[in-house]
C-alpha cells in the first residue's frame, strides 16, 4: 500500500518534470508578452506542485530510509609539534630498546605497549614505517582504533 503511494508520487514527479521542461522550451519559442506570462504562470503552478509532491513523499517514507547526510567526524586529537622525517621514523622500530612508532595519514602514533603490537610487529608489519595504505586495507573505518593510540607527532615528507 505504502509502496504503491510512493510509486504514484514518483510517477507524478516524472510527469510534472516533463511538463516543466516542455513549458521552458515553449518560453523560448513564443514572442509576445501575453503568452509568456501565461506560460510563466503555468510554470509557477507546476513548480509549486513539485514542492508539494516532495513534501508528500517525505511523509510516506520512514525517516530511517531517507538519505542521511553523514555527520562529519572531526578527529579530536591534538598533535604535538614534534615532526618526523621518514628516516627518523625508520629508527623507532621498537628494536634494541627503542620505542615503536608507526605513521598513519601523516600522524605518528606510539604502539610500543599496544597489545596488538607484540615485539613491535603486527600481522607481518613492523614498526618504524608509514602504514597508511596497510591500515586502510585492513581497517577501512578504523578511526576508532587510531583514537586509542597516543599521538607522538607528525610525519613530514
Amino acid at each position: 500500500m505504502q509502496n504503491n503511494r510512493i510509486q504514484m508520487i514518483q510517477f507524478e514527479i516524472n510527469y510534472t518534470t516533463n511538463e516543466v521542461n516542455n513549458y521552458m522550451r515553449m518560453l523560448y519559442q513564443v514572442g509576445d508578452i501575453y503568452n509568456k506570462n501565461i506560460l510563466l504562470n503555468h510554470l509557477w503552478e507546476k513548480v509549486n506542485y513539485l514542492g508539494y509532491l516532495n513534501q508528500l513523499m517525505t511523509t510516506y517514507i520512514p525517516q530511517s530510509q531517507l538519505p542521511q547526510k553523514p555527520s562529519p567526524t572531526v578527529p579530536n586529537i591534538t598533535v604535538p609539534n614534534k615532526t618526523f622525517t621518514k628516516e627518523e621514523l625508520a629508527k623507532v622500530t621498537g628494536k634494541n630498546g627503542n620505542p615503536a612508532y608507526i605513521a598513519v595519514n601523516g600522524v605518528v602514533y606510539d604502539v610500543t605497549n599496544n597489545a596488538a603490537w607484540a615485539a613491535a610487529t603486527h600481522f607481518g608489519l613492523s614498526a618504524g614505517n608509514d602504514l597508511t595504505q596497510e591500515f586502510k586495507s585492513c581497517h577501512p573505518s578504523g578511526q576508532r582504533i587510531l583514537d586509542q593510540l597516543s599521538v607522538v607527532g607528525r610525519l613530514v615528507l
Binding site: 621498537g94 628494536k95 627503542n98 610500543t112 605497549n113 597489545a115 613491535a120 610487529t121 600481522f123
Partner: protein, 233 residues
C-alpha cells in the same frame, strides 16, 4: 550417531578400496559432513597434493575437495592449512596452496583455524551440527563456542600486562608480550581449555603464544620470538 566413511589414518581399507568409499558416497544420495584437513594445492592441476589413486589415475586433493564439497551437507575446514592455507601456503608457496574456501567460494565452510585444531573444537563443532543442525559462527565462520574471545582477554597473566611487568626471556612467569606474544590478536579459548588433555598451554609453559589459530599464520604471526625488543615503559 556417526558413521566414519573415510579417514586416511583411521579407516581399515587402503589404496583404491579406500577411495572407493569416497566414490560410493558421491554417487549415492546419502547426506554427509565433509571435514577437510590440509591445504589444497592448486599448481599443476593440484598434483602437489595427491590423496590416493582412482582407476589408475592420481586423485588430487583439488579434485576431491571440489567433488565432495559440492555435495556435502556441511563443510568443516579443520586446522590452519584447510582454513586459510597455513604452513602449506607460507611464502614462497611453491605448490600454490590455498584454503578450502578458495576452492569452494560459494559454499559455507565452517573454519576451525589452529595448528593443530584442538580436538574439542572439532568434536564440539561436529556434535553441535549433529544435535542442532547448525553452530553459531562469527564473521569469519569460526564457531563462537570456541573462538569468541582473544587469548589476551582470558589470560591469567593479564594483570602483569596491565602493570607493565614483562618477561625478558623465556621461562619467566610474567607477561610475554615483549617477547612477541600473539595472544592479543588470537581468538581461542586456550587459557581456559588448555591442551594435552587439559594439562597446560604455551603461556603456562612460559613461552609466548605464536598465534597458530589466527588467519595468516605462520607468515603474519612471525617472528615467533623477539629478544631485541621495545623500550621499558
Amino acid at each position: 550417531m556417526t558413521e566414519l566413511v573415510y579417514s586416511n589414518s583411521l579407516m581399515a581399507a587402503e589404496g583404491e578400496r579406500a577411495i572407493q568409499k569416497l566414490m560410493d558416497l558421491v554417487n549415492s544420495d546419502e547426506e554427509f559432513i565433509l571435514a577437510v584437513e590440509g591445504a589444497i594445492a592448486t599448481k599443476n592441476d593440484g598434483l602437489f597434493n595427491i590423496i590416493g589413486r582412482w582407476q589408475g589415475e592420481p586423485l588430487t586433493a583439488l579434485k576431491a575437495a571440489k567433488m565432495l564439497g559440492e555435495k556435502a551437507m556441511h563443510i568443516i575446514a579443520v586446522g590452519a592449512c584447510a582454513t586459510h592455507g597455513g604452513f602449506s601456503a607460507a611464502k614462497p608457496n611453491p605448490s600454490g596452496s590455498v584454503g578450502l574456501q578458495t576452492i569452494l567460494p560459494d559454499k559455507k565452510v565452517i573454519k576451525l583455524p589452529g595448528c593443530p585444531t584442538h580436538p574439542d573444537w572439532f568434536l564440539g563443532t561436529l556434535a553441535s551440527l549433529l544435535m542442532y543442525g547448525e553452530i553459531e559462527l562469527d564473521r569469519r565462520d569460526r564457531p563462537l563456542l570456541f573462538y569468541s574471545t582473544t587469548i589476551h582477554d582470558r589470560c591469567p597473566r593479564r594483570t602483569y600486562f596491565n602493570q607493565g611487568i614483562f618477561a625478558k626471556k623465556l621461562g619467566e612467569k610474567t607477561c610475554l608480550f615483549k617477547l612477541g606474544c600473539r595472544g592479543p590478536v588470537t581468538r581461542t579459548d586456550c587459557p581456559t581449555r588448555q591442551w594435552d588433555g587439559y594439562v597446560n598451554w604455551p603461556i603456562g609453559a612460559d613461552t609466548p603464544c605464536i598465534g597458530c589459530a589466527q588467519f595468516g599464520f605462520p607468515d603474519q604471526m612471525s617472528p615467533f620470538i623477539s629478544f631485541d625488543t621495545t623500550e621499558e615503559s
